[in-house]
Symmetry: C2
Subunit: 342 residues, 2 copies
DNA sequence: TTGAAAGCGATACCAT
DNA sequence: ATGGTATCGCTTTCAA
């Protein structure tokens, strides 16, 4: 209880100096004689004084904090993301506010409210309305992560479309598969929308008729198990299942194996992300590697830079992906095992 | 840029009233005539005024924020935890600060620093030194989550020891297994420490000699795959693998299946948490259900209540678990499929 | 009902 | 080098 209540004024009184001097000493700014510095330092030490953050922030006109807004936590993807962001922010001395908009109707208001408590924000693509992003962006620096900016704010992302086109082409061309199905909801997030677009583009590029529509499900492993249950039931099953992320793919794999099917002989399965588990299952998963942590760290760096104000205005960034060919697509063990840029 | 810079004073001037009146109107406190209220509301509306959070917090002596400190994100457990905490906090109008101590040496200092920016904190058990918890607790309300408090702060947890004893007894007694091995690092977190203790207690309770030691690994699915690789190699393999959480168990299952072993015929496998995937794999996982989200929500409620100050001082809480018998332990399909309290 | 003014805790300018 | 004081934006007595 005690140590928290003590202020600059107290220390100044106790050390027999002015508050200005205390401030100078505690911040290391300005010139202070050795004598004074000692007196102040002693008082600070003795009473465990630490300047109050609110007072300091008010005077500085800065919160010393950045915010991260995401739809909800699900799986390794978000975990990586948050860690990447947090790590970078904390390193720069900024504290991290988070907000899950997950299924809350008033989330736009909450996002705006957060905008009043931080110096800058990173929003995951598709979590808040474009209009909200626009309003926010005229107040504080905003960076979009894995979304499509619609000119409202700089975006940090990968080229989902191209990556998915590359993966789908591999299935279509190298393995001659034709009855592919895409698992994931294109409307669920910009990422998935772009991947679905890339999936379709591969078909178009080869002049073959694409499947009617995606299997719209969530993005977690259990969703994949359920989707597999649906897809692999009848005799007319697909010859390849292209999943919007690795978690879904892992779930589909579990579901397929659980039904006694052989992968990739009976059905090929692919993912996206290259999560740690992807390499460890049997058969190991063919997927697309994206630098999730680095994406988040880069977004953090960008807002932090924008908050700092100096330097060129921040611009969006596109980070590279790798096509990771393993065995779940049907490639033999002697096929290239490591990634090639796409 | 524009709308953010406007202050109470501005509004007061524009509406031709005093700042006190503006404050009263914008907070709905005190008595204000309809005439004044209209004038102020108009000005506020017209200029999009929203009171600055720092000024307000400084005057109130409150941050309106709570912090959550965890070691690092890994898997569904932490995701649930964060969401449970965040959801409860935001509902109470508090913003949420997070800090991952993960592998950072100066984390104790950072935890203390966070203590200056929030009104209360929840710390995951085992993330910071007892001494740090103690120092923090004399400044702001602190609640421990899934840890052992050592009298420094109230703890919200489940009875890991009893739950794991129940599960282990089931393996030992019902299935007559004897060569069990525990996978997980008891020193990694208080939770795992308690589960290991419960595992040992089951042996002691039956007077049979427990295995020498745990297989110390991380807590994620890939760690389980690796552990399985180790354990199931030779001819002297265990007849049951008791995992510290479901993720490990899922990994071990994948590893076992990948080696062509049959579960539970060749080896039984159990988990802890009852993650969504646990029910969906083949065979479905025998495990212990713990209310992760509720644990975090309860911790949030406790710290929020403590911050609020009124009411009885907060005390620790132990939430119930359920033993969930499925098939991975060797139980047949006609065995009880749903949980029984332990 | 309304307004003037005193904080909240810290910083920084301006004299000295 | 040091101290006095205005300032940051808001809330809240205290008078009127």
């Amino acid at each position: 209880m005690g140590s928290s209540r003590i202020t600059v004024r107290e220390i100044a009184r106790l050390a027999g100096v002015s508050v200005a001097t205390v401030s100078r000493v505690s911040n290391g700014t300005g010139q202070v004689s050795e004598e004074m510095r000692r007196r102040v330092l002693d008082a600070i030490e003795k009473h465990g004084y630490r300047p109050d953050h609110l007072g300091r922030a008010l005077a500085a006109g800065r919160h010393g904090a950045v915010g991260l807004v995401f739809p909800g936590l699900s799986g390794p993807y978000f975990a990586e993301l948050i860690q990447g962001f947090e790590s970078e922010a904390v390193q720069s001395g900024a504290s991290v506010h988070i907000l899950c908009t997950h299924l809350r109707s008033d989330s736009d208001a909450q996002v705006l409210e957060m905008g009043r408590r931080v110096d800058g924000m990173v929003l995951l693509g598709g979590t808040v309305a474009d209009e909200t992003v626009r309003r926010l962006a005229e107040t504080i620096p905003v960076v979009l992560l894995a979304g499509s900016g619609h000119e409202t704010a700089p975006v940090v992302r990968v080229d989902n479309t191209a990556a998915m086109t590359g993966l789908t082409r591999h299935l279509l061309v190298e393995h001659g598969l034709r009855r592919l199905v895409f698992v994931g909801d294109p409307e669920g997030s910009p990422d998935v929308g772009q991947r679905w677009a890339g999936f379709l583009a591969a078909y178009r590029g080869l002049g073959v008729l694409p499947p009617v529509g995606p299997v719209r499900v969530g993005m977690q492993q259990p969703d994949g198990v359920l989707a597999a249950g649906h897809l692999l039931r009848g005799p007319e099953r697909p010859d390849g299942i292209v999943c919007a992320n690795d978690e879904l793919a892992l779930g589909v794999l579990v579901g397929a194996l659980g039904r006694g099917l052989l992968v990739p002989r009976d059905v090929a399965i692919t993912g996206f992300d290259d999560a740690p588990m992807a390499a460890l299952v049997s058969p190991p998963l063919t997927t697309v590697r994206q630098p999730v942590r680095e994406l988040a760290a880069e977004a953090a760096r960008l807002v932090l830079r924008a908050v700092d104000g100096r330097g060129a205005p921040v611009e969006g960034v596109v980070l590279p992906t790798d096509l990771v060919i393993r065995a779940s697509c049907g490639c033999g063990t002697d096929a290239p095992a490591t990634g090639q840029p796409i």
